[in-house]
Subunit: 237 residues, 7 copies
């Protein structure tokens, strides 16, 4: 713990720049993401898949749901602090509903992501708050097509083809790097996502311990799979 | 006390991330929960049971009640700081009443829990406050069935089958892990809860020193047992 | 004074958790109570008694009154900082009057105590303030019967049968532990309270240096004894 | 100055409790009182006397007046910071005038003192301010009789028979302890006050360097003596 | 990390002056710019060109767009924190739209830049915030002609002929210093910009990894090149 | 500079008491006064004189005026920070004008001084500000006669016969102590003030480097002497 | 960097007094002025001249304009932080326009300067902000004649005959001290200003790298010279 002392000046009170131009609090918040359970997404030519690990610490406790529907055409998976995630997911739902009400159409995915990132950025620049310790993978379909977008605690977002966040992210990314093709179809993408998650989870890969969702260009509706559907899909692996 | 010095930077002013992405103030608040007297819950196939230790430090002082009714269909047990718990319980009652008034129906248990967790989360991210040093076990029944949900100081909640919090939690959990079955009936669940509490309390297990409550799917009403009822139940153990 | 240095991080700015989950500022505030002059209370089967030490530092200065009437049916004794106590007593009187005005009946004792504890709790969780350095013993009678309730600086309260706070509390509690019976009558309770105070005060036990008050179920009115009444009672000891 | 370092944590930012339950900032403010010039008061059976030292640092500068009239029936003497005193004296005058306006009668002395102490207490519990570095001796007459009340920087007040504050307080108190009688008449009390002040001031006791005021039950009016009246009284000592 | 300790006083809480009259937080924020990917601009006699590196960390992630259109007649490239940039770009778009609405004409480029710099300056002088960790290159055309203006984190702006910011800035500037001529035409400027970017990027210079935009005096419209257009231009290098 | 370290706790954030009951920030502010150029005043039996040093650092820069008229019947001289003085002088002029407007008569001098001292006191007790680094000598005539009053940074004021503040104050005070008489006439007082200033200024005593003003009971108007008038008066010394 | 440590207490959070009565933050802000490029002014018997160095760091970047017109009858030159200067110049323009609108006449120069200094002073006394790191030379003509006034970061202003600020100030002041005469005419003053600037700039003295402005009593209009006019004037040196 001793090495913590000299950098003591950069992690107090408000989020400020270190002499190297880094924002330590944002980087530390990202550590909370890295400690979270793995969440991943794969964009197919005709849809997007999300999959997360929701292992429970005990058989007597249900794993926390980590995939949430925001609106009919968009959902989200997250890694990091559950409480922080919930605040932003509630906000995302409000943005989506408000957009529908005012403009009479589903909110464009990137606009939704920007709004969430604006909140995240604000929490990295103003005093009296800490950054959000959570990263999201948004999956949705709008007029411009299908989207898989990652946000990080600093308010940055990245448009992705296949992506994983959380403790097992690197193993899943390694698999995606080898096997992902842009012309992948949604059914294959589901299988690739499951395989990525199997790599990322060191143990306990089973229908009880994961969540799976998809949205495709045919019915444009974000759908979370039931446990029996997941079980069936796993059996095909 | 000396090892406290190097991490001095992470526990001041506001709740901020440590370099490992941890929120020390939230973890320290959880220590307040661990020092509290044991509270536990068991979900049966037809109801939910709550039981708490309410031992008093002196025969001249009554033990503090740690099970509270929120609304007809939901109650709560807690471990941790009494003052902090009371603030949130008052808030929960207001949410429940407001929901009845506006929507003409009992508040869904998970929605109620989310509202309380939103308050808890806010106290972990904004300056000028400290987190709540209390964990809850909510027990209730709504349209979706019966619920046993734990909240922690960080604003996270967990859906549970059988759960214990506070100083003797581990002993009760060990018992539950061995003996809990999902098809347990409410009468058996009451007995299992009492046995769990007997394990958790090192001494003084008696009707005077515990509280017991249940809610079942037959009358859907949260009911705190009288001391003589508890005494009778204990005699059957 | 040297051992104060390592824990320097836990007693600044706002009241925060120590790594063991303790709130040092609240504990330090309790030290202010422990340094205060003794206050005690005894609940009889038909009433409640309060007694306090109000010794003066000099014969040229009157001792500060430490028993205050809140409303006809409830009074309070305190140990700790006089200025802090006054703020909360004023508030208690306002709550009591407001309740009478709105509901047309005396405020229930426990409700009154909860309101005062809500204020106390707030001062332990928000920045820019320190906790109240005072503990109270409320004595009153309402529809549910007679009450003796202690509050502490953290916003916790305890329903008591016989209780003492302040510098000499332990000696009085030792006496109560030996001699208190639940079927005690109010006249005996007055004598037990005086004996407890005589134990607690190391010197100077006399009608000039103490205050005594009672409320019983016959006239349900909080009554502070005059000095001559106290003198007469002491003579009977 | 070195011993100041270890207790550095208790005297910054806001007024907080030390581990022993003390409020250092309030105690330090009291030091400002102890460094002030002596002020004293004597309560007679038929009135109250105030006397203060108002020595000037230079013959070219007039000593600052330290006795102020609040209303016809009440005045005040102070020791400590002049600027702080003035703020509270202005406030006391406003309270007194407002009371007359609303209730059509002079403000009760103890009520007036409580209001001033409420302000003082507030400055010991909230952040962003320091306590008032001043103590007062209020002297007045109302329906309940004559009053001599001392307030200190923490918001506590004491009902007194004879009292002194400031640098020479102990010497005056020693005299009062020996010679004060409760049946003293106002003329004797004036003489006792002057003798007390002569003891307290190490040098320079003369009509130019002191102020003297009284209020008695005959005309119930707070009266500050002129310098020639003081000179005449001193000549009688 | 040890050398950080002595200057610890200059980088906390708010942005304050060091003894040498420097604002460290502003300088540290500029380090965030220097760590960003290269962005550059070249002003021709008949227009302005912007080019940026938008390399992605992974083939599965699209590079973040770093050239944004503000209004028809003005666009911007940036280096530094994406989240910070987005906040200011949104603000710039609002200023531009508001100006059009109120004055019925496009906002003058320098006025737009001043407004953005006013925000940046405010974040260097007031407490509770950190400076923006981003530098911009604004390119636009208004009544006064064509403009290439750089802003830095402190709120300063510079009118430029050819300029580069970010990690590879110096290499591009070296090239510009040798080859830039004021009478350069827009087509040549595009080529010079591409060559500058090729110098600045150590590897990966390709149409996929860069963005290119221009505005010229002929149609006065800010235009971002498509990837195939960029590919074609690169092939001409 | 080393001895500054142990008292580091008493001069930060807000103005707080040191263990000896001193307000260091107020004392440090007084140091700013002591570093200022000398200002002095002499009260005659029939008027008041003010004189100040206004030497310039360079022949190319005019000395700053340090005597200001507040209203027809009152003026002020100051030593300390020019910027701080200006803020309070502006405020004094507003008080004086407002008083004339509301009450139809010139503001009493002591009331004016109290208002300025109330502002000064407030800046010594509340957080987020520093005390004013300036002392004033007010000279004026009202119904009660002529007044020479000094204010200091802490909000205290002193009624004076002859007084000097600033770097050379002691030398002027020494002269006044020897030569001042209460029956001095205004013409003599002018000469005494000039002699005092000559003592206080180590060099450069001349009409160019000083300011002189008076107010007498004959025309009751504050008058600043022209440079030629000052030159003539100096020639008579 | 080591010597910075002991004075660490005086340069944090808000601008406070050091034990010697100095405001370090204001002095450090003045260092920012001293690091700025030279700005100077010369007052003639019939007008005022301003001249500044505006050298650019690179041939590809235009030097920043450092002379700004505030209103027809007044302009300003500055040394220090560009962003800070711009905020105050915008404010000065608003004051000037508002004055014209309300009073129907040009704002008096000294009144304008006072307003700007009032803002500067406020930023040296209140928490949560830092002082402005900029000094100005205001040049203008009003009913009282022509004015050359310098303001510094602390809110002080000086009426000057000839003055220079910034990195090369001393060299220019040395020249002015030798050669300035009060009866100088505006044409000579222009030449003296140019010679002063040539002394102050170590290299690069040329029409491209300087700005020059004047206002005279004949047309009373602040005029910034064009580059060719400057070139011609330089050729006459």
């Amino acid at each position: 713990m001793f090495p913590a002392a000299p950098m003591a000046g950069y992690d107090r009170a408000i989020t400020i720049f270190s002499p190297e131009g880094r924002l330590y609090q944002v980087e530390y918040a990202y550590e909370a993401v890295k400690r979270g359970m793995t969440a991943l997404g794969v964009k197919a030519s005709d849809g997007v898949v999300l999959a997360v690990e929701k292992r429970s610490a005990s058989p007597l406790v249900e794993g926390t749901e980590k995939i949430k529907k925001i609106d009919d055409h968009v959902g989200v998976a997250f890694a990091g602090l559950f409480g922080d995630a919930r605040v932003l997911i509630d906000q995302a739902r409000i943005y989506a509903q408000t957009h529908r009400l005012i403009y009479g159409e589903p909110i464009p995915i990137e606009l939704l992501v920007k709004r969430i990132c604006d909140i995240k950025q604000m929490y990295t620049q103003h005093g009296g708050v800490r950054p959000f310790g959570v990263a999201f993978l948004f999956a949705g379909i709008d007029r411009k097509g299908s989207h898989l977008i990652q946000t990080d605690p600093g308010g940055t977002y990245l448009r992705c083809k296949a992506r994983a966040i959380g403790a097992g992210a690197q193993k899943a990314i390694d698999l995606f790097t080898k096997e992902y093709r842009e012309d992948i179809k949604i059914e294959e993408a589901v299988m690739l996502a499951l395989r990525g998650l199997r790599e990322a989870m060191e143990e306990g890969f089973s229908a009880e311990n994961i969540e799976l969702a998809k949205i495709d260009i045919y019915d444009k509706t974000f759908k979370i799979f039931t446990m029996s559907e997941v079980r069936e899909l796993i059996s095909k692996l």
